[in-house]
């Protein structure tokens, strides 16, 4: 085993082993083991990153005769692996506080380790089959995590739904993988190259796209992500921020060389559409985590769109920045929820995630507030924050793409992207205002000293600081200035200078949109405004658009209808089967039996009769003959003696 394999195995196995150890041993010490192992895994991933900068590592091994599987760790994979390890480490740390006192905390850490292992394996796998295996492992371990509180039946059902929707999309991935491996003989991701167009390739591309959509919660499949909020909040941070949902984007990014233009176009369009729809849905949510969930979907839409329009390096950049600020947002939301849980621990029916109950947390949780604010600004795309940089790249890429193609769909995508860019600051501003400003709408006497302990604060602050522009690029206005970009994408990062004008237009437009969005949200949701006051009565949004947004375009109801439809179809076909097909078969059977009865009579009376007659004849003859040589031993002996005498006499005389 050479160094590469050792580093790699340590990186992916340490989290798993730590988690398993915790699960086996249990107790507080075990948790420390899991966290320590995760830390070790993170360090190992950094070492791995440093060692693959010059030369990617490709590890192949024979699986069954004729099939080779393999790992491929290039800089992209290594960067993302260290990102995942980092976020996971932070989540481990945060959970120590957040999950404190849960009776199944050892199981929680076991699942966390398992999930981290699956995700790292997914990032590192080179062969499509291996990728699929880890893809499924990720889905399964996320199911375990989401359904962590499985004794609450609602949460268990949420986990099941999330898992099932994933499975539906995974069918697309499976089709794509099988087509690639079997029909096109494309086995290894690291060996992908441009291929001539063929219908099979197109089909495979669509398959991969559907799989990616499922994992990244794109348009038809995005219903599962809000459902996944049933899990513990740190899990939401882990799943939504950096890891599982990024898998789809990562897949598209990796396979974009073989994706056909049609697939890319559909990808771009669906990405834009998802971004817009999810942003609209996020506008009216009251659940603090649901807002973030829809925002995640919206941001993922951006990334998918970025891949679709060819700005994949910006997509990856956005994936990177989004990982930090979204994880930060979720963890701060977790801190808020934690606070409300403890403030209202005497009241069981209280919904600790409902923003209508919140307000005024700015003074009670100052650190949390600052972290949330910075991360929120990054999300909304304000300059000097990381989000601005990466989103800038995607928007400009979309504009360049639309201009380059010049068709209506392209411009539609651009419009959707920009509208989303305006909606994002609106809903995040609304959230900040509702949660942190004004006065508390339920708790009259603020509970002091609820600021989280140091390790949690550290976690939040690390994530917040990482969202400042300086940690992503030196120039706060250069969307392509990611200092990891040169490392990852060689030199073709800079777009053509001919599009310099478009870049400036994009930048100006987005800054205007962001600021106006923020202003609008302040105007509408500023403390003591009419809308905010109405929340005390817990109203729901009215009007068509409001309902559409609050129910997330009724996408889940559509799922329900579809499944009901399938049920009805199957019931109907069951009835048809039973009433018509079975009847006719029964009829055929009965007629056969009747015919057979008739034949039996013929057989018995005529055919058997002949045989019986023959038997009777021979028996009669036999009976007659039996009298002669009766079957009695002594009679036969008598005959024997007689013949002995006769023979003796004959010899004698």
């Amino acid at each position: 085993m050479d160094t590469a394999q050792t580093y790699f195995l340590l990186t992916i196995l340490l989290p798993l082993l730590g988690g398993m150890f915790t699960y086996t041993i249990g107790g507080k010490k075990g948790i420390n083991v899991a966290v320590a192992a995760m830390g070790g895994g993170f360090v190992m991933s950094l070492i791995l990153l440093l060692s693959v900068i010059d030369q990617p590592w490709v590890i192949r091994w024979k699986w069954v005769p004729g099939i080779e599987l393999g790992w491929n760790i290039d800089t992209t994979a290594a960067v993302l692996m260290s990102l995942v390890s980092f976020i996971s480490l932070l989540v481990h740390l945060f959970s120590k506080h957040y999950m404190f006192g849960d009776k199944a905390i050892d199981r929680y850490y076991g699942k966390l380790g398992f999930f981290t292992f699956s995700m790292l394996g997914l990032l590192a796998s080179d062969h499509f089959l291996l990728l699929f295996i880890f893809w499924e492992l990720v889905g399964f371990s996320s199911f375990l995590l989401i359904g962590f509180w499985f004794d609450d039946i609602q949460k268990a059902q949420g986990a099941r739904k999330a898992f099932m929707i994933n499975r539906v999309a995974d069918a697309g991935l499976l089709i794509g993988v099988i087509l690639l491996v079997v029909e096109l003989d494309v086995n290894f991701i690291s060996e992908l190259k441009e291929m001539p167009f063929s219908p099979m390739l197109q089909l495979a591309g669509f398959g991969l796209m559907i799989g990616a959509f499922g994992k990244s919660a794109q348009f038809p499949f995005f219903g599962w992500l809000p459902k996944a909020m049933a899990g513990p909040t740190p899990v939401s941070a882990l799943i939504h921020a950096a890891t599982m949902v990024a898998a789809g984007v990562y897949l598209l990014f990796r396979t974009q060389e073989i994706l056909t233009p049609d697939v890319l176009a559909v990808t771009a369009f669906v990405g834009g559409l998802t971004a817009l729809m999810a942003a609209i849905a996020a506008l009216t949510q009251f659940d603090i985590k649901k807002v973030l969930a829809y925002s995640t979907i919206s941001q993922l839409g951006y990334m998918v769109m970025g891949v679709g329009v060819g700005a994949y390096e910006s997509s990856l950049f956005h994936l990177w920045t989004h990982a930090f600020f979204k994880a930060g947002l979720f963890l701060t939301a977790g801190a808020v929820i934690h606070y409300y849980h403890h403030a209202h621990h005497h009241c069981h029916r209280f919904d600790a995630q409902d923003m209508r109950n919140m307000g005024g947390l700015r003074k009670i949780l100052p650190v949390t507030f600052i972290a949330f604010l910075i991360n929120g600004m990054a999300l909304s795309g304000l300059p000097f924050f990381s989000g601005f940089l990466s989103k800038e790249g995607i928007l400009s890429g979309a504009l360049i793409w639309a201009v380059g193609h010049g068709n209506a769909v392209g411009y539609l995508v651009v419009v959707m992207a920009f509208v989303t860019a305006a909606l994002t600051p609106f809903y995040i501003g609304r959230q900040i205002l509702l949660v942190f400003f004004g006065e508390s709408r339920t708790v009259n006497k603020p509970v002091e000293g609820m600021e989280p302990i140091f390790s949690v604060k550290l976690t939040l602050l690390i994530l917040a600081v990482a969202s400042i522009w300086i940690f992503s690029a030196l120039n706060p206005f250069d969307g392509h200035g990611w200092w990891l970009g040169n490392l990852l994408f060689d030199d073709h990062v800079m777009p053509d200078t001919s599009h310099q004008f478009l870049l400036h237009v994009t930048m100006a437009l987005s800054v205007i949109l962001v600021i106006s969005g923020l202003a609008l949200s302040y105007r509408k949701y500023k403390p003591d405004s009419a809308v905010v006051l109405r929340f005390k009565t817990k109203q729901r949004p009215k009007g068509l658009l409001g309902k559409l947004s609050f129910n997330a375009w009724y996408i889940e109801d559509i799922y329900e209808k579809i499944s009901d439809g399938f049920l009805n179809i199957s019931k109907t076909s069951f009835q048809i089967d039973k009433k018509i097909i079975d009847r006719s078969i029964d009829l055929f059977g009965v007629s056969t039996v009747v015919f057979a009865k008739a034949m039996a009579i013929v057989d018995r009376e005529i055919v058997d009769g002949l045989v019986n007659f023959a038997a009777w004849v021979s028996r009669t003859i036999g009976n007659a003959y039996t009298k002669v040589h009766a079957a009695r031993v002594q009679n036969q002996l008598l005959w024997l003696v007689l013949f002995i005498i006769v023979i003796v006499l004959w010899l004698q005389f």
Binding site: Q634, N635, L638, V641, L642, I645, V648, Q652
Partner: protein
């Protein structure tokens, strides 16, 4: 003296056999058979075949007849019914056997096998024992094996289960 003894023991043989032929009581027939066997043993003694006589008593009278009586008792023990057997084809059988006996007698008369000289005394047990283990060792072993196989087979056949 010796001749009269022989004739006396001949009667001990013949009379029970005649009784066996005419009786229908199996148990009594078996005991009559035993008596004739003892008579035969006596004849053997008079023929200077002491070992043969003892073997006759030991195996026939002590073994085979006990087995036969056991067989009779086992087959008829349930009911208190009379232990009788019927005769069949008496005339035919008797006729044939008489003819056969007549033929035998006529042959024996014709054959002239009438040795009278007698051998010197010798230790019969020793002679026979040495013969068993020298000239007739193969037959001896085979007969021993046959006996073993027959007894095992008989035990297997007669055991209670019906799985034959």
């Amino acid at each position: 003296m010796s001749s009269w003894l022989i004739i006396g023991f001949t009667l001990v043989i013949v009379v029970p056999i005649l009784y066996m032929i005419f009786t229908s009581n199996i148990i009594r027939a078996a005991y009559a058979f035993t008596l004739s066997l003892l008579g035969l043993a006596a004849i053997y003694v008079l023929l200077k075949a002491e070992l043969m006589a003892v073997v006759q008593i030991m195996i026939y009278a002590g073994g085979v007849v006990v087995l036969l009586i056991f067989g009779i008792m086992l087959t008829r023990r349930q009911k208190g019914m009379e232990l009788v057997t019927l005769h069949r084809d008496v005339a035919l059988g008797a006729g044939f056997c008489m003819i056969l006996y007549a033929l035998f007698v006529s042959w024996i008369g014709e054959s002239g096998l009438a040795f009278t000289e007698e051998l010197v005394e010798l230790n019969q047990v020793k002679t026979i024992g040495i013969s068993f283990l020298t000239n007739h060792i193969l037959s001896f072993e085979i007969i021993a094996f046959l006996l073993l196989v027959a007894l095992v087979g008989a035990a297997f056949l007669a055991k209670k289960t019906d799985s034959i």
